[in-house]
């Protein structure tokens, strides 16, 4: 894979506007991946933001940094979700998991509260509220909304990434839908694999955010 030592400012997310960040500076997650412990992930272009995990009713739980990344410059959209948070030992950012976006759905849960819903194909779901300075919060959340539109449009899951269209039936029928979803996921993955080789590498320069 082509080395990309300097993340593109256009993909900056929290890197552009996150707490403590300056324009064009990589975000906390990107810096963590560049620190030398994750060679496999350090060259991924990442769009990331800082969040707090909240309950469905909005009660605050813990800090989470979420990013989406493209594992290959041949991709026109990100294909991985990265989750990180403060370590229990010293509070430094620690990568918790890396999840192919084929197996994750992202929704806008509550636009007025800058909340997203993250739902895994296993049925596990949680809610994240954007943590950003008030003057840049709307713009940063808007970038996530645009990204979610693109991800949903690109997938077979429908073009509108809002929980209102999805959550009511899915919460009650998660178990029944699980196998069906996994089969869909497998098919999408095969389709995605077939598409990858045809994509123009230049298209991955911007995710249209």
């Amino acid at each position: 894979m082509k080395r990309r030592n300097v993340p593109k400012p256009a993909l900056g997310g929290a890197g552009e506007a996150g707490p403590g960040g300056t324009a064009g500076r990589p975000g906390r997650l990107q810096r963590h991946l560049l620190s030398g412990e994750f060679d496999e992930l350090r060259d991924f272009p990442i769009f990331e933001s800082n969040f707090v995990q909240v309950t469905q009713l909005g009660e605050v739980a813990n800090k989470v940094t979420m990013g989406v990344a493209a594992s290959s410059p041949a991709l026109e959209l990100p294909d991985l979700l990265l989750l990180a948070g403060p370590s229990k030992e010293n509070g430094h950012l620690e990568l918790f998991g890396l999840f192919p976006l084929q197996f994750v759905q992202l929704f806008v849960h509550d636009e007025s509260r800058w909340q997203l819903k993250v739902k895994f194909c296993t049925g596990r779901a949680f809610y994240l509220q954007l943590r950003a300075p008030s003057e840049t919060r709307d713009r940063e959340f808007g970038q996530w909304v645009r990204l979610l539109y693109r991800l949903h449009f690109n997938s077979a899951q429908g073009a509108v990434p809002f929980t209102q269209e999805y959550s009511a039936p899915e919460d009650d029928e998660e178990e029944e839908e699980k196998e069906e979803e996994e089969e869909e996921i497998r098919l999408e993955w095969e389709e995605h694999q077939a598409t990858e080789a045809r994509l123009d590498p230049l298209a991955s320069e911007l995710w249209g955010l």
Partner: protein, 216 residues
């Protein structure tokens, strides 16, 4: 926290054999009977002390389910150690070891140390794979072998730490080039391979163990 080396581990094996539970027991010293299916990769880390050196284990817990396998195998690259896990109460998880081993060998460094783990040793009454079979498989394929219980913590420390000891032994013997990132070993920040780590720091921060407790 400073360390002399970082070793990348992968945990592989069929779904439901207890990979995530082994990781949780090792990093958090707790057991969670019901665990969400792992998709992609989940990470864990812990410092250990081997021969007076602080070593950070960076552990990649991979999804075992077949539908995720083609994706997760791309992350085997650059692992110094692998824990290949089966469930002693489910024969099919033992039967699939050859396939996992082929995957691991194909996508990793040839020097990678592989620890074969027969997990759920606390469920003796439901045992479906004899310990001798695990031992024979390990012998045949040049693996280290242990039976563990993520539930009781039996041999969990030993499985992770003995793997690290074997990697460290290979470094000492010059079999691992620590400057080659493909080997899954990194020299710690502000360390050089000739610089000894202060023993007081090592002891204060480590959770070193002795030889096998033999509890299983």
């Amino acid at each position: 926290m400073t360390y002399a080396y970082l070793f990348k581990y992968i945990i592989i094996g069929d779904t439901g054999v207890g990979k995530s539970c082994l990781l949780l027991q090792f990093t958090d010293k707790r057991f969670q009977p019901v665990h969400d299916l792992t998709i992609g990769v989940e990470f864990g880390a812990r410092m250990v002390n081997i021969d007076g050196k602080q070593i950070k284990l960076q552990i990649w817990d991979t999804a075992g389910q077949e539908s995720f396998r083609s994706i997760t195998r791309s992350y085997y690259r650059g692992a110094a150690g692998a824990l290949l896990v089966y469930d002693i109460t489910r024969r099919e998880t033992f039967n699939h070891l050859t396939s996992w081993l082929e995957d691991a060998r194909q996508h990793s460094s040839s020097n990678m140390v592989i620890m074969l783990i027969g997990n759920k040793s606390d469920l003796e009454s439901r045992r479906d794979v004899k310990r001798e079979e695990g031992e024979a498989f390990a012998r045949e394929h040049g693996l280290i072998f242990m039976e563990t219980s993520a539930k009781t913590a039996c041999n969990v420390e030993e499985a992770f730490i003995n793997t690290a000891k074997e990697i460290y032994r290979k470094i000492q013997q010059g079999l691992f080039d620590v400057h080659n990132e493909a080997n899954g070993i990194k020299i710690g920040p502000q360390q050089s391979i000739s610089t000894p780590v202060g023993s007081s720091t090592s002891q204060r921060n480590s959770r070193d163990i002795g030889s096998n407790s033999g509890c299983c």
